[in-house]
Structure formats: structure tokens, C-alpha cells
Symmetry: C3
Subunit: 127 residues, 3 copies
């Protein structure tokens, strides 16, 4: 059920996108109770003018390009699960070499389980 | 008030986008109590690397490209209204021929009615 | 903490994007209790076919291209703060000359403060 929007700088190539996509999905399966085949990801690529951030926030400097990961998911995960997801996302994405762990910005948007359709016009999660 | 974000594969042309846009709006007017002139839609087009999904989820196979429809709307619709919206979205979009009903993925994000401005800096829905 | 998604027509150049980005951030700092270095903005540029709206909604006509500003932020702001934000966003963006105040459409999505990571895999706002 999560729908993941990932905004990346334009200079990342398809191989780097694939690493990021796989890293995000693996992190969600491992820490966030997401089924392996529950995968829906959308990337947007951006020029320098289209991705804007301050040089430093909360003592974390952003020297290279940042990556935004916004995840729409069902409500109900604990704070501990969210912390585990964030930790794994940053380390797993950074392993690819194109993005620093300090530049992985994550935002969760939680919705009700009845708010999804996964094809054929059915609300698969509604009781 | 709904703001609709639609992510589509790059190979869809402007005529196909228009069909999808009209189909979505007609579905919302018919099933979701949306005024006919309350229409705000944003499309993003994506390469194959930028739209990622598993081949099958919940027994629905995705052989062709999927389309994500994410709707930010006011809270308060019933589950029955959501089901009616999903059903009509899938059938209506599929009628255009470019997208299968099984490939229409929908996500609703509900917000408070005070969370909108429709121009001129006014919160038109706030009491 | 806010993550701001701004959808603009393709004909806006980088200078106009910079004005809009600065105007949005200044508005949030001034009216919405956002720290000056808490700035995360993503622009998407769109063709005419990709931005769809009705000619008039709530007696506000859209003759030129509209701009969507969708802000994901922590819950807890008052209605008065939201009204102040909307007012300042419209006037501040319009000052750049490329966008009319009547064409600034704003959507707020509120989330829990534990739903963010600003780098290094840490949930900086979770207690």
C-alpha cells in the first residue's frame, strides 16, 4: 500500500535510480511490515533550480544534492517502526554511493486503510 | 477542492492525458460530491525507470504501465463513496483504451477543510 | 519540516522559480513559525496538457496559468495561522509578476511530528 514519491537530482542515472528504488523497498519490507509485492514507486528528476534547500538544518549540512522520499502509507505504525525505517532508508540508499545518508530526507503521510485501490476499482483494504 | 496528482508513463500522448483527466473529473463529480468547476489536476510523465511496481499485487497483474492517481481532498466521505469513486475511476479511465482498469492505482489523502486556498490568498472553506 | 511541492507551467524560467521559492519560504517563516533554515522545496514544470483546471472556481477566474503549492507540515497550526500563510503566499508570489494572486492554489497536508527524517536516518522531531 505505500505509494512512494522520490524526488532526485537530474544527474542520477537509471542504475542509481534502481539502487534507490530497491533500497527503499527493501527498507520498507524489513522494518515497516510491507509485503514484498506491495511496491509502488514514482521518481521525479529535477534540475538544480527545481530542488531547493538550506545549506544546513538541524546541524546536518547538505553539500551534495538531497533526495526527498515521501511515503503515503496506512496509519498505525509505531514511533519505533518509523525510527527503524528512517535509519534503514538512509543507510541503504547511501550504500549506492550516489547519495549521502545525510541527504536522505523522509516524509511520511498516513491515511486510512480504506483510502486505497490497487486496480480494478476495488477498495482492497476496506472491510 | 480536490487536488489530483496523476503519474503516467511517458508514452501517453496529450489526447490520452485529456481522456484520463476528463474521466477522473467526471468520476469525482458523479460519485464524490465534487462541484463541476472544482477541478485541479497535475500530471507528471515518467520514463520506465521512474515508475516502479511489482508484477502482481493482491492477485492483480500489471503487464502494461500503471497509472497513479493521488487525490488530496477534504475528510468526511463515507467508505461507500470511496468505493464508488474507485469503481468509476477505473472503468472510466479504462474506457480510453490506453490504460487497463487493473492498472489504475488510487490513493486518497484527506485533510481539513480549512487547509485550502483557491486563489487570492483566501481560505475559502474556513468558516 | 515543511516539504513544499510546487507545480508550475513550463514557461516559467529559473529566475521566476527562484522568486516563487523565496516568496514561499519567506511566507512560511513569517506566518507559519518555520525556522529560516528549515527549507525543503521541490518544483515540477508542466506543459499545458499536464496542468488542468476549470476556468472559474468560487468566482475566481483563471486566465493565466495557475501554480499549485502543496505543503506537507506538522499538525497544530491554528486556522488564523493558515489564513495568514495563504494571504502572504498569494501576495508574495504575485509580486514577482509571473503569477497572479488569483492563480496561487494552496493545499496543506498535516502530519505527526514523528513523521520526518532530515538526514542521517534520524527522526529528529520524535521525542
Amino acid at each position: 500500500m505505500p505509494l512512494v514519491r522520490i524526488a532526485v537530482p537530474r544527474h542520477l542515472d537509471d542504475m542509481q535510480l534502481k539502487h534507490i528504488a530497491d533500497a527503499i523497498h527493501e527498507s520498507m519490507v524489513t522494518t515497516f511490515n510491507v509485503p514484498a509485492d506491495d511496491r509502488f514507486q514514482v521518481f521525479t528528476r529535477h534540475t538544480d533550480s527545481e530542488l531547493v534547500w538550506a545549506p544546513t538544518y538541524l546541524n546536518i549540512a547538505h553539500i551534495r544534492s538531497i533526495v526527498f522520499v515521501q511515503i503515503t502509507c496506512n496509519e498505525g505504525r509505531t514511533v519505533e517502526m518509523k525510527k527503524a525505517l528512517f535509519a534503514r532508508l538512509a543507510s541503504s540508499i547511501a550504500r549506492g554511493g550516489a547519495v549521502l545518508a545525510s541527504d536522505v530526507i523522509v516524509s511520511l503521510v498516513e491515511v486510512k486503510k480504506e483510502n486505497w485501490s490497487f486496480g480494478n476499482g476495488i477498495a482492497q483494504y476496506a472491510i
